[in-house]
């Protein structure tokens, strides 16, 4: 099995920097992905409800969706870059094994992305037909998430790679993996829950201009959030128990940091539910962001745990060249400052 693992290339800075950047940027992608999934599903649901207020909610979400999609994709780029640097030999291989599905993501996303624009720009003209458009986008989003779950688990299972000898056409999925379904559900149920919270937030922003709509958005969003968070906690435990025993045991005391993270996650989840029950949208959102970071760190432990027999990050050879990273940080700061300026101008103009 390990003789099929490709030899990795060298890295220019110590792996810790790259891991830091990976863990910093991935939750941002997840937050946006959640907002995208949740608001698309709620926009679809709202289109099924009768009443002018529901239509307005759907239309409001329609306006936000193309932007959220753009930033979800954009913020997916950075973590995908850093994971390729740290785990390239695994993720390139698993991607090739499922090449047809993996490449299809591009086409699917283009379709879904245009659906969100169509749903926005032609909202009134489409009328009830808009259901089909945004419905297609939702189905595609859920499908893409499934393909991602497949790849992210297949890359951790070099033992399964010998499936290639029966199928080199790139149509392998990791369906035999017991963690696949809980992992997938963990992402989409949790994602929709957080998406509900995002809808509540979008409503809050509108509170002054359209209090009636804001009220509906907060009510619906927080209900979705609360109910699905309960479901999510159950799925989380299913996922935990489905993990290979040595990996699971890391969270049960064998690795102190991993265990602390699990406990912190549970406490944050309780905090989230408490804030939600009080309809404290901003407080719940702050908890959720912290929780998503904690879960991302746990995910890094799962990944390292599955691969520890064959690979640890310190095996990467460093040929030091720090100056490009320094330039990157400078550009990042300048870029963020520019974004702040742009947003300020836009807010003033509005």
């Amino acid at each position: 099995m390990s003789d099929m693992i490709p030899t990795p290339d060298t890295i220019p800075v110590s792996w810790g920097f790259l891991q830091f950047l990976l863990l910093l940027t991935f939750p941002l992608h997840i937050i946006l992905m959640n907002a995208m999934l949740g608001s698309a599903i709620i926009a679809l649901y709202a289109r099924f409800r009768s009443g002018e207020l529901w239509t307005r909610l759907s239309e409001d979400l329609a306006k936000a969706l193309p932007l959220i999609v753009a930033f979800t994709i954009n913020f997916g780029v950075a973590p995908l870059l850093f994971v390729q640097v740290l785990y390239g030999q695994f993720i390139y291989t698993s991607s090739i094994l499922m090449g047809v599905f993996w490449l299809s993501i591009i086409l699917l996303l283009i379709v879904a992305y245009y659906c969100t624009y169509l749903f926005d720009f032609k909202f009134a003209a489409l009328g009830q037909a808009g259901k089909w458009i945004i419905g297609l986008a939702v189905v595609i989003f859920l499908g893409i998430a499934f393909l991602f779950s497949n790849n992210m688990t297949l890359m951790l299972r070099p033992g399964e790679w010998s499936l290639y000898w029966q199928n080199s056409g790139g149509t392998i999925l990791n369906l035999g993996d017991v963690t696949l379904w809980p992992r997938y559900l963990h992402f989409i149920v949790g994602g929709t829950a957080v998406g509900g919270l995002a809808v509540a937030l979008i409503g809050k922003f509108k509170a002054k201009r359209d209090p009636e709509l804001a009220e509906l958005a907060v009510t619906v969003g927080m209900r979705v959030f609360t109910v699905l968070t309960f479901v999510q906690i159950a799925i989380g435990f299913w996922f935990l128990l489905a993990l290979d025993k040595p990996v699971m045991m890391m969270f049960m005391g064998e690795n102190m940091l991993a265990t602390v993270l699990l406990l912190a996650g549970i406490m944050l989840a309780i905090g989230v539910l408490w804030a939600a029950s009080k309809k404290k949208v901003y407080l719940a959102a702050a908890h959720v962001i912290a929780l998503l970071y904690v879960m991302t760190f746990m995910r890094a432990f799962v990944r390292a745990g599955y691969l520890q027999e064959v690979y640890t990050l310190d095996m990467l050879q460093v040929i030091p060249q720090y100056s490009p990273m320094i330039v990157f940080f400078v550009v990042l700061v300048a870029g963020l400052a520019t974004v702040v300026w742009l947003v300020r101008q836009a807010v003033e103009a509005a």
């Binding site: 220019p12 753009a70 994709i73 030999q89 090739i96 790139g170 060249q321 490009p324 870029g335 974004v339």
Partner: protein, 583 residues
Amino acid sequence: MNYPVWYLPTIGGAFFIALIAITHVFVSHFAVGGGLYLIFAERLGLRRNSQAILDFTKKHAKFFILITLVFGSMTGVGIWFIIALASAGGTSLLIHNFVFGWAIEWVFFVVEIVAAFVYFYTFGKMKPSTHQAVGWVYFGAAWASLFIINGILSFMLTPGAWLESGNFWIGFFNPTFWPSLFFRTFIATMLAGVYAFLTCSFLRDGELKKTMTRFSGWWVLVSFLASIPFGYWYLNVLPEPARDLVAGKSPTIQTALDYGLYAIGLVFVLSLVLTLIRPALNVKPVAFLIMMGAFVFLGAFEWSREAARRPFVINQVMYSNGLMPVDVEKANAVGFLQSAKWTSIREVTPENLQQAGAEIFQHQCYACHTVNGWNNDIVPLTESMSYRAMVSYIQTIHEKRYFMPPFAGTDAEAQALAAYLVGGLHGKEIVMAAPVAESAVARGALVFEESCSACHGYDAIAPSMAGWNADRIREALDNLSQLNEMMEDFSGTTAEKEALTQYLLTGGEVATDGAVLFEENCSMCHGLAEIRPGMVGWDRAKIRQSLDNLSAINQMMEDYDGTPSEKDALADYLAAAVAGGDQ
């Protein structure tokens, strides 16, 4: 060899790369130039105080957002996906070496998106000077993205002194960086005009259409003319092999450049007409035609740039098939199948010959060749070759045709690959023997090889045969044991003895069978039937002479470097073929 091969024999990964990459560059250059166009179009509207021009600009901005933000960014991510699938080793090398280059590009991508949204959604609602500033921020970020990508793309063609130092900045600011950057910048502003023609063609207001078509036309014309010196500079800094390939040594580049030239000619002439003569002619089909022309031109340029670094995917560093020169050396020493990670067969045996060959094909050839597909299909390309010719061709493939990577592996592996290509794909016999020799001399050479060559070659016995005639040779063959007691008298048939005599008489010039020479030297590129029409009316003298000047007939050919008698034999064979004889 380090990574598995995603094997879709009839389509090929290269097809997807070309498809996604060419559509992407057509949009991404527009994303750069189009941003600048929006600023100036808006400024024109503001200066002339024309709401119509401002409305046009806003409409164009919407089209711009829908094309660049969705299709542009998704195909950009798409290139990254497909190159990692089709060429994982090369992608990994670029990602690891330039990780912070890509990361910087991502920051510009973030700024670009935010600025594009702000520009579009606040159009007409923001103070004009601020709105223009937002436009400039957009253009700055988009051009900076081009700046970064250009560094990495041009690195792949000309890594320059990076090869020694491995230094990020030296690789980034490589020999083609600047000419390529300026060339692409002007291509980007040219495309801004081309895309704007399309938006203009939808305008109903005749006066506005005239104004904006002219305005857009100047973008195309000026940009195109400005790009020419940078294109010339670009060509001049190319290293020797790449320049030769672009100048005619590569058949695919030649075709691409021909199309590209016609296409840009069309764009230029039509733009000239629309700008200087009749802007009203800018109707949808014309605008679309210009767009197609620009698409073909850009596609031809990108294709040629990619093909010019052949046989490498990263020049001098990694071959198109993902092998590095050091991998080739290792494979030659211990065997490719032994040293590769993703082959199921580890050693060639008589039983697995074709299967091993198929695996080697997937790893070493499939990066560029499909099987029964339409993109550089290996089947017609190998149609006229025998197993023997194929084995010899594979072993010298890089020397014979520079743009093909060298074969990596042992002799047995080369034979396995040849067996797959000749036996597996064409169902021909896998035998090492030459085709049945036509002439007595050639038959004699075979007899010599079988009966004599185990102990001595021709050269070893030539001095002692000096001045012998046919009869003397026949007599000696009957009494070999008397010449040297280690030999036995020749015991072959009379015909064999006669053939051997003729062979010894001619002085050991053996392989003078023109058909064999043709197969060994010509058939990998063309069969007889393909060249015969072009040689109608040629006599033997002309054919003989042309063998010394093949490069003058077609730059992709090398002058034939056989011995004088081989040239004669090949000329005889071709002359007979032209006269209507041998197929």
